[in-house]
Symmetry: C2
Subunit: 365 residues, 2 copies
């Protein structure tokens, strides 16, 4: 249990006149309780937190997770449900004198909300759908968290370099992706933070390419987008390069993408509007004539989840705050030719930002 | 695209007077379209199917997935959204003359359903929450699917045996879990179907144990629960054994669990009630005096998802049907001592069932 985080949340509950909140989102659950169990998808939870506006918080789970819950969620009262969670809540909410209960609307299934409503009606509890209550806390990292994320970023780069050294024509995308994911594990990561992308030549035109048996040719584009989880915290990095002699066109486009990335990095500081940061990088690509070939947003927050707030996209009018960590990942994608993307992570500071990456592959201008 | 599956679904839509259905659940999406992209959690979809009651089905996605969608979802009209999915649906639904639209209530967030309702109201579309429409189709496997699942089961056993041979006192749980997951990948699997469980001694008392740095002692219990994905289809197997000389108590309890498993297997046939199958196995464990130490249900369906319908639990009154594939995994868990679980998979046949496993580790009576 992270006492400070629970207390901060409880203060928010009091301010919003909520008697308690149900926490169903797994990263939020871990953030508040330290309980690390994984869900089997949203339909099969490993447990739910019930945080009252004051006093001891609860972790509700089933017998399969009983021991792990007791061990990890220190300070939480662990309660097991045998007849489902709603039967347990029906007893617990009146006992805790809960009249207004918040729930995570963005991590609560439509079908489950029908059951929750049924139960709430019977015990006369008013339900309040909430968005991003804990996510807003998570978006701003403490220095301790920044340190953990930096360790994740640096291990990710070490893994990249260990495999990068071995790359040669004749290898397949799958082979390289496997080598990367295996190195992550042997080098101490909990696992990849998302499915590793390795794409050659025209395959690199798909921003979310899945590795295939395509064989690397001399002089062909290699795009690697990879990340890992270390102590719960994610990293995310993309490098694009050529094994052998790079064509002029590649070098030229790589420089444009790098310039766009630097323009994005330059625009980041506490108070900057997210969409303006996206715009700063996008302008470089548009000015070079590739505006139609950069279809995704510039970046996203990273923390316990590999994609979290804030989004650096053209529709986000919110302002960056010190302690946020974002990716800066512009790209150019040309279906018949291939694609280039460069991605680093940075922490937002009062007067600018601090790039967390040290690796410079493909970043020379 | 699987034409037969889409046609079958369209017939169901006609019967239920639905003009179209939105498919958001990723396994259902893959089952119907062949599109294999992975979601980054339920909050970040790689695309949604819109299946009208007749005619060409649609795959709605964003530019990141455009090429993969076109390649994989043969027969589907691929349409990209740039301003979000609801803006696109607002145009598409009236054009397709949709008046009644089904959606997957069990894979639709409460927060998204609010947006869906907004949009539906504007274009005068009636929304119908659906449960398990495609899951009911998926629960019954074709012989072709059974063959794919058998290949997944057999590869999983080969991986188990490759690592089992190397086990020795001094190894850690994490080390063995890593070796298993790496072997899965090098031996051709797409990846593990869930986080591999390796638990020694008292750690085995947690049904969902997470591997730790605990060091294996001579004569200690080893519980391994592992599965992989091959050609999209999952396997799931548990073995419990001892490296070195097993204690009498262990052998005795292992025999009870195996007898319970055999009783469960014997109870499986088309027409058998799911809870009765659970009961048949549970009775063996209860009769031996361990009824309070088998807290989870006997098994679950396996297919494109590692946990799917049908559930073999004490609350499921539905009947098994030929072609269903289930796990049979009784266990005994004693907090201070450890745990034993044995898990095989079987396909339900008219007159009994066919166990898909060939591995016999720990299964001798």
């Amino acid at each position: 249990m992270n006492k400070q985080r629970v207390k901060k949340l409880q203060k928010t509950l009091q301010r919003r006149k909520l008697d308690a909140v149900l926490i169903t989102e797994p990263h939020n659950r871990r953030y508040l309780s330290g309980y690390t169990a994984a869900d089997h998808g949203i339909q099969e939870t490993a447990g739910v937190l019930l945080i009252p506006k004051k006093g001891r918080p609860w972790l509700l789970t089933d017998s399969r997770f009983a021991l792990q819950a007791e061990e990890e969620a220190q300070g939480f009262a662990v309660e097991l449900y045998t007849k489902g969670i709603y039967a347990l809540l029906k007893k617990l909410l009146p006992a805790l004198n809960v009249r207004r209960l918040g729930f995570e609307s963005h991590y609560f299934l439509h079908s489950s909300s029908a059951k929750l409503e049924d139960m709430a009606e019977k015990v006369k509890v008013e339900l309040v759908p909430l968005l991003d209550l804990v996510e807003r806390m998570r978006a701003i990292k403490t220095e301790e968290e920044i340190q953990l994320i930096k360790e994740s970023v640096l291990l990710n780069e070490q893994v990249f370099q260990a495999v990068y050294k071995t790359l040669a024509p004749g290898m397949t995308e799958i082979e390289i992706a496997l080598a990367l994911e295996q190195s992550m594990q042997t080098m101490g990561a909990e696992g990849p933070s998302f499915e590793t992308i390795v794409a050659f030549g025209s395959n690199a035109a798909k921003p979310h390419a899945v590795p295939t048996n395509r064989v690397l040719q001399d002089g062909e584009i290699v795009l690697i987008d990879m990340g890992l989880v270390l102590q719960g915290y994610c990293s995310d990095m993309t490098r694009t390069f050529v094994i052998g002699k790079a064509k002029k066109k590649f070098k030229q486009r790589l420089r444009i993408v790098r310039k766009a990335q630097l323009a994005g990095i330059k625009a980041i500081r506490a108070g900057a509007v997210c969409r303006e940061v996206d715009k700063a990088a996008r302008k470089v690509i548009a000015d070079a004539g590739y505006g139609d070939f950069f279809g995704h947003s510039l970046g996203h927050g990273v923390g316990l989840a590999v994609h979290e707030a804030p989004g650096l996209g053209s529709r986000n009018r919110k302002k960056l705050q010190a302690g946020m960590i974002v990716t800066i990942e512009p790209g150019i994608y040309l279906p018949d030719w291939g694609g280039i993307r460069l991605e680093n992570m940075a922490v937002v500071r009062e007067d600018g930002c601090e790039v967390l990456n040290e690796d410079s592959t493909g970043l020379e201008l």
